[in-house]
């Protein structure tokens, strides 16, 4: 039997197969846990999915080889989008058959939330079978760094320049020079990411966390997903050293990972001069200080110093779009909520595991405003905007601003779709934001976050769409609705 496929289709199928193979391998620990814990209900579905993924991936990768050297952007977007959608689809199976009482839509929500690092669950996540909790965390981890990135790093057979492909999944401005061999870079990135996760696991063990919980925490927290397995993300009861470890690694996970590469190359000066990192750092500090001042005014009985520490931890949880609750922020004065809301929109740095609009874009947008005022005064000026002291093309400025606008539009339209469910306007806006920023925690419900049990199936599906849109930075999902996506370059 011969299937006639053109090179592009071969390429897409090849990458998808490879991703499935990796996914299949990652499922093995889950099956192990299931077998050891005698969780009969999820053993069979997990093994089935693992088998299908491994077989399909193995066969697909060897049968469909592509000898493509140049990949068009359209094909890259297709690859990323289809890989993500298919992986989310196949992860639905273990959740659906493994948890009694889950409908298909519930399972889709659970799977999407896991892959997009959103940190929302349908029911109490801690009550799930252990194998499925591990599955959630593994999907968090793969989704955080990006499954395509992991695939590219692990497969030696990819000879093409993977930058185009990786950037469709892991978008945002980089600070790496274009001439650097990206192939070694993404290997290093995945290495750094795995290293951080391992380090966090060991530190958590040293801080006397039980091993399984430490493993789940390390996997989920490195990918800034939140701590769904601990009391639905309410981590107030944890000991202080554990809280500090979690905070540090959530922060590291939300920093632009190209800075770590610069660090490896010992270019520490460049790292410190990076305006995104500086903005990010000062933003955390100033927000924490302001919130502490508000708390000090409204609740004078609290000790300022220890409160500042707690506020910093909570702020990092939100800026990194992890969304776990680490202090009693439900009692904060209402004005603080506005800060948190803003911080969730801005989100973490570009090229990090966090979500949101991304700091780099916000810096550009904030510079655009005085710049456009300046242009009104000096219409004929040739001055351009600068970023990290380098001039930016106007095209670039427009793109960054356009994304900010697109993000706001998607957020508002998302709230419109969610408002079909009979929730209040405040909840609709907050849930839309929690989904599109991949935080998962609605600031309207800070004492018991992250449960989607009461929503209608339609709302749950809309939430899934918003999560995927937020994780892939909207454009890839939007492209499906355009004819150009399905047409080759030649026919446009």
């Amino acid at each position: 039997m011969t299937i006639r496929l053109n090179n592009n289709k071969k390429f897409i199928l090849n990458i998808i197969s490879a991703a499935f193979e990796i996914y299949g391998i990652c499922l093995l620990p889950c099956i192990g846990v299931s077998a050891v814990m005698h969780e009969d209900i999820d053993y069979f579905p997990l093994s089935m999915v693992c088998l299908i993924s491994l077989m399909g991936g193995f066969i697909g990768r060897r049968m469909i080889t592509s000898s493509i050297h140049q990949v068009r952007p359209r094909i890259c977007y297709m690859t990323t989008l289809f890989t993500w959608l298919l992986l989310i689809a196949i992860t639905v199976i273990p959740f659906y058959y493994g948890i009694p009482g889950y409908s298909v839509v519930d399972a889709i929500l659970e799977s999407t939330a896991s892959w997009t690092t959103t940190g929302i669950g349908v029911y109490d996540t801690a009550s799930l079978p252990m194998a499925l909790q591990l599955l959630r965390s593994i999907c968090n981890w793969l989704g955080g760094i990006g499954i395509i990135m992991v695939t590219l790093a692990l497969l030696s057979s990819r000879k093409f320049i993977g930058w185009n492909l990786a950037s469709t999944e892991f978008p945002g401005p980089t600070f790496l020079k274009n001439d650097s061999p990206f192939r070694t870079d993404y290997r290093k990135l995945v290495g750094i990411y795995a290293g951080f996760t391992l380090l966090q696991f060991i530190l958590l063990l040293l801080a006397k966390m039980p091993p399984f919980a430490a493993l789940l925490t390390a996997l989920s927290n490195s990918s800034t997903s939140g701590l769904q397995h601990i009391n639905n993300g309410v981590a107030i009861a944890l000991s202080t050293p554990v809280k500090i470890i979690i905070t540090v690694f959530a922060f590291l996970g939300s920093v632009n990972c190209s800075l770590f590469l610069l660090g490896i190359r010992r270019k520490f000066k460049d790292v410190l001069k990076n305006s995104e990192l500086m903005f990010y750092f000062w933003r955390v500090v100033l927000t924490s200080l302001l919130i502490t001042v508000f708390i000090a005014v409204s609740m004078p009985e609290r000790s300022l110093f220890s409160e500042l520490g707690r506020v910093i931890m909570q702020v990092i949880s939100f800026v990194s779009t992890s969304g776990y609750i680490i202090t009693d922020c439900a009692k904060w004065p209402p004005a603080c909520m506005l800060f948190i809301l803003l911080q969730m929109f801005i989100g973490s740095c570009a090229m990090s595991t966090g979500g949101g609009i991304k700091v780099a874009r916000i810096i550009i947008a904030l510079k655009t405003v005085p710049f456009s005022v300046y242009r009104h005064i000096h219409p004929n000026s040739v001055r351009t905007l600068t970023f990290s002291k380098k001039p930016m093309k106007s095209d670039y400025v427009i793109r960054a601003n356009l994304f900010v606008a697109l993000f706001m539009i998607t957020y508002l339209l998302g709230a419109l779709l969610l408002s079909f469910d009979e929730m209040g306007l405040y909840d609709a806006l907050n849930y839309s934001q929690a989904m599109i920023t991949n935080t998962g925690t609605s600031i309207g419900e800070l004492d018991a976050p992250g449960l989607a049990e009461r929503f209608t199936p339609f709302t749950k599906l809309m939430m899934c769409l918003l999560m995927i849109a937020g994780r892939l930075e909207i454009y890839p999902l939007l492209m499906i609705f355009f004819r150009n996506f399905w047409k080759s370059d030649a026919s446009v």
Partner: protein
């Protein structure tokens, strides 16, 4: 800066304001309101005397340094502030509103055609004051400076620059060979429509006073009413529909009327912004009426459609009347209204908000961005009405949208800082002020007022209204260091 000319301008501008106060003065005489007669005659004197003094003793000669484009921003913003301060004097002199910040808020809300009010019982105010309140909206609707330019063409100001700083929307095209002509024609259309609306309202059974007031505030998309329960007071679907239609007209680009008057009716209807605006209004109306029937407890489909059409048009044209309390509507309807508050209506109309043309161009840019992302070597221009848009235009448009959201966030923060109101109240209050709508949701909903805010919040909201009315950049330019040091680049 050509100080002499600027001061002369302000002098004449005050005289113009004084002249318009004759209308409420006449109202006061007709209805025999003594305090109002005193208040308005005193205010007229306050306006005219300095104006005359400047004219006589400090007259600018023609060989004086002429005004530069940059000065127009200063003139426009300052004129609006002056107008708002002077306009609040009658409120205080009649004792209708005693606190200055509140009177200032009310006047800003008038001139910027916002229609947000702090008066809990409107019907208790003197009729002359209500007349003045409606008149401020009518003057602000098309732009007071544009009116000035239309009336006094030979002042030596580049009228076009001024109009660009004041007229809503990114595009002011020259319809006639001289801009003054355009300004005059804009006002002719405006006056004709106002008179037409007044006659229609009279035939609907309203008395002369109510018709005049509502015609003034409808055409300006202002939204002040002489009754506490706004248009809902009349319980009359004919009135609702007349006002709906005229609000829709007030939200369309007024230049289209010229194009139509010159015989190009088909071209006017093919205008992309107009089509987009109509489509949005239609879709919103239909979906909201369906939602009202399904979730909102409406039994009568026609009534649901009437209410929804009225409320959608009043919000999209940033008028802000109310026939029902839409704060009690289902969340979906509220969300639609919230979105329309942001978009606003067409450019070169009397409406506020981001403006349909900007939303349209934004969507086109997103579409182009997707095409370019998919096919990286494609040539793809964004066109509007068949004309290619320059990258320069993009920068301004996108800069405006960003500025709009930043102002919204900053305003919400400043209003929230004093701990009043919840987030939805504060957010919709600022949104409503920046888009010049009037009512928001929750505590500033259609049956509530802005009275509960403290002086600081009221001042912030007043300034946000002016900033929103002057399309943000005209207002924010005054805060740029480059503006005050003209030679610095």
């Amino acid at each position: 800066m050509a100080a002499r000319r600027v001061i002369n301008f302000f002098g004449q501008f005050m005289m113009l304001l004084g002249a318009f106060m004759i209308l409420p003065l006449i109202t006061a005489l007709i209805y025999d309101e003594d305090s109002s007669v005193r208040a308005f005659s005193l205010t007229i004197l306050l306006c005219v005397l300095p104006g005359l003094a400047v004219r006589v003793f400090y007259k600018a000669s023609l060989d004086e340094l002429s005004l530069r484009p940059r000065d127009s921003y200063f003139i426009v913003t300052t004129s609006w502030l002056i107008a708002s301060v002077i306009g609040s004097i009658p409120y205080m002199l009649t004792g209708s509103i005693t606190n200055f910040f509140e009177a200032f808020f009310e006047t800003c809300s008038g001139f910027t055609t916002t229609g947000a009010t702090i008066v809990n019982d409107v019907e208790a105010l003197p009729r002359a004051v209500l007349m003045w309140r409606s008149l401020t909206q009518w003057l602000g609707g098309m732009g007071i400076i544009v009116l000035f330019v239309a009336l006094m063409p030979r002042f030596g100001i580049k009228a076009r620059n001024i109009a660009q700083a004041e007229t809503p929307g990114p595009t002011v095209t020259k319809v006639t060979s001289r801009f003054t002509g355009t300004a005059q024609r804009l006002y002719i259309v405006y006056i004709v429509l106002t008179v037409l609306l007044m006659i229609m309202l009279l035939t609907g059974g309203l008395n002369f006073y109510d018709s005049l007031n509502h015609a003034l505030t409808t055409m300006a998309t202002g939204g002040f009413s002489t009754y506490n329960d706004s248009i809902g007071h009349f319980h009359n679907n004919y009135i609702s529909w007349i006002i709906t239609i005229f609000m829709f007209i007030a939200g369309t680009n007024f230049e289209l009327f010229f194009i139509a008057m010159h015989g190009h009716v088909a071209r006017a209807f093919k205008n992309e912004e107009f089509l987009f605006y109509s489509a949005i209004v239609l879709i919103a109306t239909v979906s909201v009426s369906v939602c009202l029937v399904l979730q909102g407890g409406y039994e009568d489909v026609w009534q649901a459609f009437t209410d929804s059409a009225f409320q959608i048009t009043t919000i999209v044209s940033t008028t802000g009347y109310a026939t029902t309390n839409f704060d009690l509507w289902p969340t979906f309807c509220q969300m639609v209204l919230l979105l329309l508050m942001i978009t606003g209506a067409s450019s070169s109309s009397t409406a506020g908000g981001v403006k349909m043309v900007r939303v349209l161009v934004l969507l086109k840019m997103i579409k182009r961005e997707i095409r370019v992302k998919l096919h990286d070597n494609i040539v793809n221009d964004v066109k509007l009405d068949g004309r290619k848009l320059l990258p320069e235009t993009f920068t301004y448009m996108i800069g405006f949208v960003t500025m709009y959201f930043i102002t919204l966030i900053l305003g919400t923060f400043l209003v929230s800082v004093t701990g009043q109101g919840n987030l939805i109240t504060n957010l919709t209050a600022v949104l409503s002020c920046i888009s010049n709508v009037g009512p928001g949701l929750d505590n500033v909903g259609p049956i509530c007022t802005y009275d509960f805010y403290n002086g600081f919040s009221k001042l912030v909201l007043s300034l946000v209204m002016i900033a929103g009315r002057l399309e943000l950049s005209t207002f924010f330019i005054l805060f740029s260091r480059f503006f005050w040091q003209p030679n610095r680049v």
